[in-house]
């Protein structure tokens, strides 16, 4: 069961982070957002957090390896993919307009 988690967790973290940042962006454009809060700064912070979480997931896979070699390599590849995915898919935070 732990092996299944090794394989599935890092990339699931990507999905959670991606959805959370998207939700945050939606929230920042809604009537609930405080007017004096800079949405871009918050989104950038969230982007950074998402990447850090992904790094932690990758390190966890590397430093608590599975006994099965196959699981270990596959889990590492998946965790690295998840890191790359977080960097790439949330990159719009850097450039595009927030609510237009």
């Amino acid at each position: 069961m732990i092996d299944i988690l090794r394989l599935s967790l890092p990339i699931t973290v990507w999905l959670a982070g991606f959805s959370a940042v998207y939700a945050l962006q939606g929230l920042s454009c809604s009537r609930h957002w405080p007017a004096d809060l800079d949405a871009r700064q918050v989104l950038l912070a969230a982007y950074a957090v998402a990447i850090v979480l992904q790094l932690i997931a990758l390190l966890a896979v590397l430093y608590a390896p599975s006994k099965a070699r196959f699981v270990q390599t596959t889990a590492t590849v998946l965790a690295a993919t998840a890191l790359g995915a977080a960097v790439w898919t949330l990159m719009p935070v850097l450039a595009t307009s927030v609510c237009l």
Partner: protein, 838 residues
């Protein structure tokens, strides 16, 4: 007197074992056997035949579409009819053909590939089959009666809401499709537990056949993708029937909520369809190339990441809804990213071909057709992921062409390859009549002529879902070419089906493993007997038949595990999830008419509301519960058997005497789907709260102190009760006080949920009130379920079905109770918190 020769003695043993097992596993040979069999060969074959029939129906509808579009200003169909036809074409192909077809293939093939004797829950498989047959037939019958849905296969409100789609067409869609999704979830759970637990001895995760990986991933996707859609259908149906305004802007709803829920399902859906086909290619291609799959681990990683990434793409179907640029850019980026794992797979296959010595043959031919087509479909997909381009071609025939390139090229072609490849295994016959090659050369070129023209017409501006066009719009020639070629393609598909049918029934008997494959499905007799394997194989690598060419013989002689039929019941092996060590012996149920009956009442409960027969629906629901209890009651035993001899000196416990029987695993995954469903409800609530125009509602619900206290106490009792019950049973003590505590707890939670409804009568007033009722309804439903399960547990204990060893059932009840408590508290908090802080 002559002594038997040494060689004939084992053969005699194999024959005796074969006869004994065949008797134990046989389905009823009379007509009623059709309704009582739960054997994976029978269920899978029926599934396959029904799914193929729906492909034919969907194909006929496609021909009607193309006939209408062949000429400008065609009078062949009225627009009202055309709307029904394309809606039904899309719906039938996606829900009634594509998903059931690969489910059928997995039922037929998985036990063989994994080295086990049947699927994990044979009766659940039969149930899924019958629900699918009833739900699918209902949808088709409605169409023949002219009552088909006509809002397109994604049924956007407000078009599909009561105001603009009066009549029952949309309800047919919502209820019929939901029942089919129930069937798909049942099958998915069965597949997951089978792959994780029912394998050959020694088959660790890394030794699993690649198809098992793919189908495992796909099944988890079904459990996480279908619930949002089921929730969406529920919301829309409740809005249509009771006017709860989830999608009505003026009352606090938002039609975009439907689009989110639908595409949260709909995008993963296309990968749910593609990945099984990819699994087939990864299975077939290496064998045809006489080598092994290149980069097995990479392919597994690609499949997993593709699956997860596909859940982050849904908004790319909503690029034209006015979502802010940053949101669009997220989903554009994610959409381009999926090309990476897809390419990993494609390169692995190309590399495999490179490495091996490919032989042609019909399966290979269809795989070549796949390559030529799918790559183009993938590229037009990347084009569509680019937002400005998408804005230009949204809702044109360019999209139609793209989706057919991926669906037909990426799914239908590989599946035909799979049918031909596995034909010797499934029918015991080797293809003899060579109609299939002709069919191939009819289908593939005409497919490209059809849909390249459709691409062009789309680029020139022809919109999808419009019943006709004018001669001066410049699309006439393209459409005529597309239509003529599509008729040729249809003839090709018809010939393919004919070829398969003829060969399946009258071709010559073939020999075992004609392709020289290395995986276990080829190690049994062909066609595969009902019991699958005479003994459970022991494997040391990914390609056991290559490691040991005599493996088939060893298995037949009973030299694996459980190679002894003397206990006269359907036994198979359960192994540890990761490493495949033998852990338990499970006894599978025999033939039974229960799945069929349960499917009848389930389908009645879904379909009766179409005719406003709510009382019938209610009665059917009661019957569902009653039959489910009868079903469960038949499992397990009243005495501890202790460990049984599984062969090779292994003494293993029965699964029913373990803490984690298959039913526990099944519950975990069903609860995963349930949890996603609940999560989708919370998402819908948050979505409306954030963006729906007519929010906030006039007032928020004010929590009442007594209700909060009742809820918390109830939660505490429902958490403690089942725990204490498990402990009592484990110690051989009395369990009923603890069980009673649990029941009281679930009732208390139910009262707290009811208070929400009582405080806010009138769910039709505002989407907020309607959402409160659904949250409370979720709690109510689960507390009732928990109470029923606890009562059932008490009865089981009283009847002697529980003991310190036979404790699995109590564990399952505990699992459900925990889920009820956790989601119940979250639901009540979500209902109460806004009012507490407002």
């Amino acid at each position: 007197m002559t002594l038997p020769s040494p060689a004939s003695q084992p053969r005699g043993k194999a024959l005796r074992l074969h006869l004994a097992l065949a008797r134990i596993w046989a389905s009823d040979q009379r007509i009623r056997g059709w309704f009582t069999s739960s054997n994976n060969n029978d269920i899978g074959s029926l599934f396959l035949i029904v799914a193929t029939s729906f492909f034919v129906i969907g194909g006929i509808l496609a021909m009607l579409i193309r006939a209408q579009l062949a000429t400008p200003d065609s009078a062949f169909m009225e627009p009202q009819v055309y709307n029904q036809i394309f809606t039904m074409h899309g719906t039938v192909m996606m829900f009634l053909f594509a998903i059931p077809f690969f489910e059928a293939m997995s039922m037929l093939l998985l036990p063989g590939m994994l080295g086990t004797r049947d699927m994990a829950f044979p009766r659940l498989g039969a149930y899924g089959l019958w629900v699918y047959i009833f739900g699918g037939s209902a949808v088709i019958i409605a169409m023949l009666m002219g009552l088909a849905p006509d809002g397109g296969w994604f049924m956007y409100p407000p078009l599909s809401s009561a105001a603009f789609s009066p009549g029952i067409g949309a309800d047919v869609w919502l209820l019929g499709i939901t029942s089919i999704e129930v069937s798909a979830i049942a099958t998915a759970i069965e597949v997951i537990v089978t792959v994780l637990r029912y394998r050959a001895a020694g088959m660790s995760l890394s030794r699993m056949p690649i198809f098992a990986w793919y189908i495992l991933v796909v099944s988890v996707m079904i459990l996480t993708a279908f619930p949002p859609m089921i929730l969406g259908s529920l919301l829309l149906e409740v809005e249509r029937a009771l006017n709860w305004p989830f999608f009505q802007v003026e009352n606090g709803g938002d039609p975009l909520l439907w689009q989110h829920l639908f595409w949260l399902f709909g995008h993963p859906e296309v990968y749910i369809i593609f990945l099984p086909a990819a699994g087939m290619i990864a299975t077939i291609l290496p064998v045809m190339a006489r080598t092994n799959l290149l980069g097995y681990g990479w392919v597994v990683a690609a499949a997993v990441s593709l699956a997860v990434l596909s859940f982050g793409l849904w908004v790319h179907h909503m690029f034209t809804t006015g979502i802010p640029h940053m949101g669009l850019a997220f989903f554009s980026a994610a959409s381009t990213l999926v090309a990476v794992p897809t390419s990993v797979m494609i390169f692995s296959w190309i590399g495999t071909l490179w490495k091996g010595r490919a032989r042609m043959g019909l399966p290979m031919l269809w795989i070549m057709g796949f390559f030529a087509t799918f790559v183009i479909g993938g590229l037009t997909g990347v084009m569509l992921a680019v937002v400005p381009f998408n804005w230009q071609v949204h809702d044109t025939h360019f999209v139609v062409a793209h989706l057919h390139y991926v669906l037909i090229g990426g799914y239908v072609f590989p599946m035909i390859a799979a049918i031909y490849y596995f034909m010797p295994l499934l029918t015991g016959r080797t293809r003899f009549f060579k109609l299939g090659e002709v069919a191939f050369w009819l289908v593939v070129p005409s497919f490209h002529i059809t849909f390249l023209s459709v691409h062009m017409a789309g680029l020139l501006g022809q919109r999808r879902r419009t019943w006709t066009y004018d001669a001066d719009q410049g699309w006439t020639a393209l459409n005529l070419v597309a239509s003529i070629a599509s008729f040729v393609m249809a003839i090709g598909f018809a010939l393919t089906i004919l070829d398969v049918a003829v060969n399946a029934f009258v071709a010559v008997r073939g020999r075992r493993n004609p392709w020289g494959a290395g995986t276990l499905e080829w190690a049994g007799a062909i066609p595969s007997p009902a019991y699958g394997f005479a003994s459970i194989p022991i494997v040391q690598g990914r390609y056991p038949l290559h490691d040991d060419p005599d493996l088939a013989l060893h298995i037949a002689r009973g030299e694996g595990y459980l190679g002894d039929a003397s206990r006269i019941r359907r036994e198979t092996l359960i192994v540890s999830t990761a490493r495949g060590e033998p852990l338990q012996v499970v006894v599978l149920p025999g033939n039974s008419v229960l799945p069929f009956l349960l499917a009848v009442v389930t389908s009645t409960s879904f379909l009766a509301p179409l005719f406003d027969a709510y009382i019938v629906a209610g009665l059917a629901l009661v019957a569902v519960v009653a039959l489910a209890l009868v079903w469960a009651w038949g499992l397990g035993g009243r005495v501890d058997e202790g460990h049984v001899d599984a062969g090779h000196g292994a003494m293993l416990p029965l699964a029913s005497e373990c803490r984690d029987p298959p039913g526990w695993w099944g519950s975990v995954f069903l609860l995963l789907a349930d949890g996603v469903h609940f999560g989708s409800l919370l998402f819908g609530y948050a979505f409306l709260w954030t963006v729906a125009p007519n929010w906030p509602p006039h007032s928020y619900l004010q929590p009442q102190l007594w209700a909060v206290i009742v809820a918390l106490t109830g939660a505490l009792a429902l958490t403690a009760g089942p725990r204490l019950a498990v402990r009592a049973i484990a110690k051989g003590g009395t369990a009923w006080p603890a069980i009673t505590l649990g029941i009281v707890g679930s009732l208390a939670l139910a009262i707290a949920a009811a208070s929400v409804m009582l405080d806010r009568p009138g769910p039709a007033r505002h989407a907020y009130d309607a959402t409160l009722w659904l949250l409370a309804g979720h709690v109510g439903l689960h507390t009732i379920l928990s109470a029923i399960m606890l009562c059932y547990l008490a009865a089981r204990v009283a009847a002697g079905y529980a003991s310190p060893a036979r404790i699995g059932e109590a564990g399952i009840v505990k699992l459900w109770a925990d889920f009820t408590v956790a989601t119940g508290l979250v639901a009540l908090a979500a209902a109460w918190l806004p009012g507490a802080f407002a």
